[in-house]
């Protein structure tokens, strides 16, 4: 991998890292997803900053070139899309949490309120039955 390529990828990694941290901070990305991305980013940065490691991995998987620009671009796109989709899932999940909490609180509060007097419709029907 060329120095220029490494710099670009490191920059992309750092941007992604700050984006992830900000999403977690704003409760737009579940912290568990954030952990997975952060570990992955640090792993990728480690490989990029240690060329022998990258060459070793290249040999290990039987690839001819350390990197293919097109593959990397596609990979970056997929990763960004993945973050976006997970952020959307987190947002929907958080809304669900709010609904569940709100429902629970309202039910508890409603149980404390005095109930209106019952109309006792069963008694009335029974009385009608007797009349008949």
């Amino acid at each position: 991998m060329t120095t220029q390529g490494s710099i670009v990828l490191i920059a992309v990694g750092l941007i992604l890292l700050f984006w992830i941290l900000d999403l977690v901070r704003r409760d737009r990305l579940y912290v568990g997803y954030g952990i997975i991305f952060i570990v992955t980013i640090f792993g990728a940065l480690l490989v990029l900053l240690a060329p022998p490691l990258l060459r070793g991995i290249t040999r290990l998987v039987g690839a001819l070139f350390p990197a293919s620009a097109l593959t990397l671009l596609a990979l970056c796109f997929i990763v960004f899309m993945l973050v976006y989709v997970l952020a959307q899932i987190t947002v929907v999940s958080n809304r669900l949490v709010i609904v569940v909490q709100e429902l629970a609180i309202r039910q508890a509060k409603a149980s404390l309120e005095p109930r209106p007097p019952e109309t006792n419709s069963e008694d009335q029907s029974a009385r009608r039955g007797v009349d008949r």
Partner: protein, 241 residues
Amino acid sequence: MGTTLRVLVAIPAYNEAGSIRTVVQRVRTSLPDFDLLVVNDGSRDATGQILTQLGVMTTTHLCNLGYGRAIQTALTYAQRSNYDVLITLDADGQHYPEQVNTLYTEHLRGGWDVLIGSRYIESHDYSQSPVGRRIGMRIFSWLVRLVGRRHIYDTTSGLKIIRRSVFAPLTRWHFIDFHAEAIVYLLRLGYSVGEYPITVAERRHGQSMYSLLSHVTYPLKTLLILLIAVVQAELTRRSQR
């Protein structure tokens, strides 16, 4: 004891059918002046039925949201119902409700925003816990001291007394379990957090909320959210200036 304040005791419960009846009865006996709320966090066992039989005020989550969200529900309830103090207790029977009175007196005397019932403040001895948890507690205690500038020995205690002043900050932001990350967040915002010694009993019923996998994921998640809590607290302080 000052009884003019409105106090709510909240017990988050998830699948605690084996212990919830005893815990509720002990709280009612030991703390008759305080209101009681159980947050049934989507239990799949008989917890809900037992709570109905006991006639205890319950907020029921339709699905399991986790400990942090259950505490948040209790905080929101306490805030909306104009309670002055919220006391959280575990539903597994490990806490002695009898000790809450002493803790509450210390809370009033010390003017703490949050007072934690601590298992380790006197002995500083974590040896009764499993190795993994012991290491985790030491690390988080050290991290809280590092970034919160206060030594809290028991960051994972479920027995807490929370003053109304911190209801809003604790419901405004998200936490995992209201442990180290919440403590750091409040300390960085300038609230007072203290500890007071308590003793705990062994868990007799049910299972711990920490599964095998969570022993790996919990420290990582807490570490991440703890560091973000520092940033969030700083941003909150700046926005309030």
